[in-house]
């Protein structure tokens, strides 16, 4: 997509933990309006990259520009409010809050989150709440969580927790969503449906960067595909291009793919 | 000069804190809730040791009695009142332990009344090392505290059962799947931890006197020590106890004795702001 400015542009991003270089100068960019795949062997640093970009882990060096704004070192909530939301590979959430509350929480621009409006209960707050509730129901239905909508998050199965991760991200209507293995542990049939739904996102103005190990899923959804290995970007291209790269086969895909 | 002396004094008073602080932090490391009933258990240990000493047991024997009585009582309360609540989170268990602390304090009061009592033990004059004076008895206590610390530390860090304790604190379900019986581990942790707290109470009583509030008086400094060193870290508790001891003694010179208690907290605030997990972090060993 020549001519368009990248939505997310990462330059020479570095991060080490106790002397172990996990990100060793990552350069990548994500163009607006597409689904970009991020693959790479276990331990390549993909999740760490998401952690750094979403502000949970400060980078040691390097630049992260989102929509033209440098945001390395920002607090996670500020990044999130700018429209960059991420999900977690190992599902995380609020154990005692219900599925519904999880979904509602991620709704943006909630007037009811100001102390004053919460106490007096303004109309704006009520209306926004009602609108979000409708979306929450819709999201829950799609993810087959509607039956469980009042369940606390602890009482969900492993796969359901992952589905809730996706649901929350969708509720946030971000400009860029980072999905960390969104469908690992999700039943294949539902996984296909989720894939369909993700394909609609760019049309709604949501750009996607997703990590997956399911090659069928990557193949159907993602273009381009970025391959990371050992803390750096190894290569990038269409799925077919990267699939045939021998380094990718060697490090990542394994014997049968070859 | 006086500063040096205050530091030495701080180490001495720190050792008195260190023993119960080790017990407290070791229990925290395994059971994952701050057990406030240490105040009552320390008092109980002090009285148990007092009785044993009174009927003619030697110092070592009395310490063993203090350990056993405190350990058993602490264990019983953990089983009956605290651990059943841990499912609800650490705080309900902690709150319940405040109540059990009150129970223990009043059980002692019921039996012994309020009047302070003292161990019938000779008090030695301090000896001078140069210009610094140190108390031989308090050096003894200090040696005992360091020994206990090494034992607990080694047990948690190197023995299989110590590791199993940490494992079942970390992930009780998985520990059970690996054949570790979490209740047994919890039992051991409560018994040993509370036993140490009881010994701490008795050592404290040897140095001053005992009454139903003996444990309550040290509760704040004890927490401060454990937190300063990093909750759940055994060497941290010892380090924290020394630092709190020294900070408090120095504060006598700087802001006056009446603000002693406040100084400990300011120290914590500063340390925790710089190191949010305490000086030695939260590793149990």
């Amino acid at each position: 997509m020549p001519g368009t400015m990248p939505l997310l542009e990462i330059k020479d991003l570095r991060r080490a933990f106790y002397g172990l270089d996990v990100l060793r100068g990552v350069d990548l960019s994500v163009a607006p309006g597409g689904i970009t795949g991020l693959i790479g062997p276990n331990g390549a640093g993909k999740t760490t990259l998401f952690n750094v970009v979403s502000g949970l882990v400060p980078p040691d060096a390097g630049s992260i520009r989102f929509d033209g704004e440098e945001m390395a070192g920002w607090a996670p909530d500020r990044i999130s409010r700018r429209g960059l939301v991420r999900t977690f590979q190992v599902a995380r959430g609020f154990p005692k809050l219900s599925v519904f509350q999880h979904l509602m929480l991620y709704g943006r621009d909630q007037p009811g989150e100001s102390l004053w409006q919460a106490i007096v209960g303004t109309r704006a707050a009520r209306e926004r709440e009602a609108a979000l509730a409708e979306r929450a129901w819709e999201t829950a239905r799609f993810l087959k969580l509607d039956r469980l909508i009042d369940n606390p998050a602890t009482a969900l199965s492993g796969g359901q927790k992952k589905l809730l991760e996706i649901g929350r991200a969708l509720m946030a209507e971000p400009r860029l969503v980072l999905l960390d293995e969104p469908t690992a542990g999700v039943n294949p049939t539902l996984q296909n449906e989720i894939g369909e739904r993700l394909l609609e996102l760019p049309r709604r103005g949501i750009t996607v960067l997703l990590i997956e190990h399911d090659m069928g899923f990557i193949a159907r959804l993602c273009n381009p595909v970025i391959v990371m290995a050992e803390g750096q970007v190894l290569t990038q291209g269409t799925f077919d291009e990267v699939r045939t790269d021998h380094r990718v086969r060697e490090a990542y895909l394994g014997r049968r793919a070859a | 000069m006086i500063i040096l002396q205050a530091l030495v004094n701080g180490i001495v008073s720190g050792t008195l804190l260190a023993v119960p602080a080790i017990g407290f932090t070791a229990m925290f490391a395994v059971l994952r809730f701050p057990n406030f009933s240490v105040s009552g258990v320390a008092t109980l240990g002090a009285f148990a040791g007092y009785l044993a000493y009174g009927v003619g047991l030697q110092m070592a024997g009395s310490l063993v009695v203090a350990f056993a009585v405190a350990g058993v009582a602490g264990l019983a309360f953990d089983k009956l009142a605290h651990l059943p609540l841990i499912k609800q989170g650490a705080l309900p268990a902690a709150i319940a332990s405040i109540a059990t602390g009150i129970i223990l304090e009043n059980v002692v009061r019921l039996g012994f009344g309020n009047a302070p009592r003292g161990y019938d033990r000779p008090i030695a004059r301090d000896v001078f090392l140069g210009d610094i004076r140190v108390s031989p008895q308090q050096l003894e206590t200090m040696g005992l505290a360091l020994l206990l610390m090494l034992l607990v530390f080694a047990a948690l860090a190197f023995t299989r059962i110590g590791k199993a304790m940490r494992a079942s604190a970390d992930n009780p379900e998985l520990a059970a799947l690996k054949g570790i019986r979490p209740e047994r581990i919890a039992t051991l942790a409560s018994f040993v931890g509370m036993g140490l707290v009881g010994v701490g109470g008795m050592l404290l009583g040897l140095d001053s006197s005992i009454d139903p509030l003996t444990g309550t008086r040290i509760l704040l400094s004890l927490f401060a020590a454990a937190v300063l060193g990093g909750l759940g870290s055994v060497p941290g508790a010892v380090l924290g106890a020394f630092l709190i001891g020294m900070a408090e003694e120095l504060s006598v010179l700087v802001v006056g004795s009446q603000y002693r208690a406040a100084v400990g907290f300011i120290a914590i605030l500063v340390v925790l702001t710089l190191r949010p997990r305490g000086l030695l972090g939260e590793r149990a060993y």
Partner: protein, 256 residues
């Protein structure tokens, strides 16, 4: 007599709310059995009931011809049954080496030897032996969880989604490991969402729906059963790496 024989098993998290509603299932000695089904069907719950993490409210679980229902996890594990849970399956605050040590808690005598074997089989673990398990990547953690379970040389291994989060290559290697273990006589009951892969290494399979096994049979038969395919295996869309590189609908995302 089967190694594991389950009849009419019922149970869940709260007494009022049964998740597994009468399951019959068996695993023969030396067999690999797959358990698949939609999210929330009760697969993990079933495994937890077998392993003793949850107390069954009814039915029987016989392992090596002895009733084990209600015994509790430590006792059951001591009889030679290892379970790798789906979530929270490592000791996060402990090092990799200590995790393995805890895996061999029951049988400390052979721990050293097994640990060496596992380090050889999973070199990543050896590299990371001093790292706290909480710092491992998702895939690395999965491998560790598996290794922990192997530390006490079980006769029956219950695996809950062992390949979730593994790279294709690592997943393949893991299935290789599973087959190798199986060859050495370990029976395996495995829950997988990577279903076609799982079926391809299994002898038999069950499809669990709403707490009951609705379908069972030879794994290959189930994989070809059109209803099962549509409902549980993702229907027409096949994992591309199975059908020799058939990626007909790849890259159809309409990027603008």
């Amino acid at each position: 007599m089967s190694l594991l024989q389950i009849t009419g098993l019922r149970g869940g998290y709260a007494a009022a709310d049964e998740i597994v509603k009468g399951a019959d299932l068996k695993v023969e000695a030396g067999e690999i059995v797959a358990l698949i089904g939609p999210n929330g069907a009760g697969k993990s719950t079933l495994l937890k009931l077998i392993a003793g993490l949850l107390r069954p409210s009814g039915g029987s679980v016989r392992f090596k011809e002895q009733e084990i229902a209600g015994l509790g996890a430590p006792a059951i594990s001591r009889r030679g049954l290892s379970f790798v849970p789906q979530e929270r399956n490592v000791f996060g605050t402990m090092s990799v080496a200590e995790n393995l040590e805890m895996g061999g808690f029951i049988d400390g005598a052979h721990a050293r030897k097994r640990m060496a074997e596992l380090y050889e089989r999973f070199p990543m673990l050896s590299e990371k032996r001093r790292a706290a398990a909480r710092t491992l990547s998702g895939g690395q953690r999965q491998i560790l969880a598996m290794a922990i379970a192997l530390m006490n040389a079980p006769d029956l291994l219950l695996l809950d989604e062992p390949t979730a989060g593994l790279s294709p290559r690592a997943a393949e290697e893991l299935f290789g490991t599973i087959l190798a273990l199986n060859k050495s006589g370990v029976a395996i009951l495995m829950v997988e969402q990577n279903a076609l892969e799982a079926l391809s290494v299994s002898a038999r399979a069950y499809v669990l729906v709403q707490g009951r096994p609705e379908h069972e049979g030879r794994a290959a038969d189930l994989a070809d059963d059109p209803t099962v395919r549509d409902l549980f295996l993702g229907g027409k869309a096949q994992p591309m790496l199975r059908g020799n590189g058939d990626s007909s609908n790849k890259g159809t995302g309409d990027f603008t």
